[in-house]
């Protein structure tokens, strides 16, 4: 018979679940422009003029289709930020995400919404809301058609 002191079993199960996602046309154009031209594209609504990055097929404000893409950034303003300092498994890699890292919410020049991205924290004392920042692109040969083709944002002095 079992007793309260009996140690329960833990059965470990490892699962590998690979996925592939459709990026949609506007986000595909955004990723290709990052990779080939180091340009940041956004969608601009013909009806309400709202500018969204990354670009969307339809406007989040008025629900109309947004076929027009415009170039924004690469500079912007730091809207808010954190420095992430706890260990966790990154669903992208299945490995621990390297910490600490800067997590920035950036209002790119010309945009109405915000872009979350990594912040260069080599001098974290310069991080402040309202601080001007700039996209630092990955070297062309290292780009992988991903948001990481922007390496991070760095603080402008």
């Amino acid at each position: 018979m079992s007793t309260p002191k009996e140690k329960p079993l833990y059965i470990s199960i490892k699962t590998d679940l690979p996925y592939a996602y459709s990026a949609g046309r506007p986000l595909s154009r955004f990723l290709v422009a990052l990779r080939d031209e180091a340009k940041i594209l956004a969608s601009r609504c013909n009806q309400c003029s709202y500018v969204l990055v990354p670009p969307r097929a339809f406007c989040t404000q008025c629900h109309k289709l947004t076929p027009e893409l415009v170039e924004v950034g690469p500079r912007g303003t730091l809207e808010t930020f954190s420095v992430i300092n706890f260990p966790f498994i990154d669903p992208f890699t299945g490995l621990e995400r390297p910490v600490p890292y800067g997590y920035g919410i950036i209002k790119l020049d010309g945009c109405d919404n915000l872009l979350p991205h990594f912040l260069d924290i080599s001098d974290h004392t310069k991080l402040a809301i309202g601080q001007r920042v700039e996209a630092v692109f990955e070297e062309k040969e290292n780009r992988t058609t991903a948001l990481t083709d922007i390496k991070h944002f760095r603080v402008l002095i």
């Binding site: 996602y21 986000l27 969204l52 809207e79 808010t80 954190s82 420095v83 992208f92 919410i105």
Partner: protein, 381 residues
């Protein structure tokens, strides 16, 4: 308008970091059994079941099916609700809709989570856009940290005020046998823990808990037969925001404000600070007990710190917030928002034992989740 609905009973497990002694259906059974015991009912008296937990967390799909014996839903109408951090509140809302529709007289609402068998940060990250937003998001911790940074800057509120709220919550938790973190702390001890994500210290954040909660609701005619003092549900309001983090204006919990304003209107409340007697706030981090009070219109914007520093929201204060210890003390995520509703109902029913606030006639409970999904409940005696 639907029919009038009340909460007649609830049950909770004793939440902790790791329930090694039970598997998930066994843990759920414990909460359900306690709710039935309090109601003096059996499963035969239950017309329908609503259950929920966080998708992806334990890696179990169709958890409504998998947990059916523990939930008591065999041979009954049952449905699963999964809405992230608000899951427990959405489960309660769904059970309310079942009764209010007139189609069911007694509905069992269940929320559960075994975070010791989960990957909460990874699970939350997978709720966000896979190509753009997962890259940098650090789960709930990261999302809350950036809001706290914005709040501190906008209203010039120091970390000490947040720490004070965290200290009080863990002290309140000592009154609650179901709470996870029951601690005597000082503000300095909170501030001495490292930043988990600037500006939040480890002890500013909620724990990861194992636990389950069950709430039994009944239509008006059944509630009056079954329960000497039902907790009537006056208002249930839900608001969503944009799905992408970058599409939300930071430092503004506009969904909570909109839901609260609508709930006050439905419940006929014009001055919530005077008319509410207790709040069970979904407070995933300490600063929310300062900032989010402002969106509930309990004070002017930026003045939430006054409510905390002056003791208005303390256990002995004019409007106690989280006498149970709140989320900062206990967080089995899929159950967490349902625990807020259950605790509010216990306060109305006078069943909250050592954590009972005197003379509660009206109580509020909230639920919060990813992308500023907010739910507000108002209960009355």
């Amino acid at each position: 308008m639907g029919e009038r609905v009340a909460i007649i009973a609830s049950g909770q497990t004793n939440h902790c970091s790791k329930r090694t002694d039970v598997n998930i259906p066994e843990m759920i059974q414990e909460a359900v059994d306690r709710a039935l015991l309090q109601a003096n009912l059996t499963l035969d008296d239950i017309d329908a079941v609503v259950i929920g937990n966080m998708e992806h967390f334990e890696g179990i799909n169709l958890s409504d099916m998998w947990a059916s014996e523990g939930a008591g839903s065999v041979m009954k109408p049952a449905m699963k609700i999964a809405t992230g951090g608000t899951t427990g509140a959405s489960v309660a809302a769904c059970a309310y809709y079942h009764c209010a529709s007139g189609l069911f007289d007694t509905v069992l609402a269940i929320g559960w989570e075994k975070l010791s068998e989960s990957d909460p940060t990874g699970g939350i990250i997978t709720a966000f856009d896979p190509i753009v937003e997962r890259l940098t998001l650090a789960g709930a911790v990261g999302g809350l940290a950036i809001e706290a940074t914005a709040y501190m800057k906008t209203y010039d509120v120091p970390e000490e005020v947040f720490a004070l709220a965290a200290v009080r919550s863990r002290k309140n938790a000592k009154r609650n046998p179901h709470a996870h973190l029951k601690l005597d702390l000082t503000v300095q001890q909170v501030l001495d823990t490292p930043y988990i994500a600037y500006p939040l210290h480890y002890l500013d954040m909620c724990p990861a808990s194992d636990g389950a909660c069950a709430v039994i609701m009944a239509s008006e005619k059944r509630a009056k037969d079954l329960c000497p003092k039902p907790a009537w549900i006056d208002a249930v309001v839900c608001r969503h925001n944009h799905a992408w983090i970058g599409d939300i204006s930071f430092g503004k919990n506009s969904t909570l404000e909109s839901a609260a304003v609508e709930a006050y209107k439905i419940a006929g409340i014009t001055n919530p600070l005077e008319e509410l007697n207790v709040i069970e706030l979904y407070d995933p981090a300490s600063y929310t007990q300062v900032s989010w009070l402002e969106y509930l219109h309990l004070c002017e914007m930026g003045q939430g710190r006054r409510l905390v520093e002056d003791g208005v929201t303390a256990f002995e204060g004019k409007l106690p917030v989280n006498p149970s210890g709140g989320v900062v003390s206990t967080n089995p995520i899929g159950a967490t928002a349902l625990i807020r509703v259950a605790e509010a109902s216990l306060q109305i029913q006078g069943r909250a034992d050592e954590r009972q606030v005197d003379g509660v006639q009206r109580a509020m409970a909230t639920g919060f989740g990813g992308s500023y999904w907010n739910e507000v409940f108002i209960l009355s005696a």
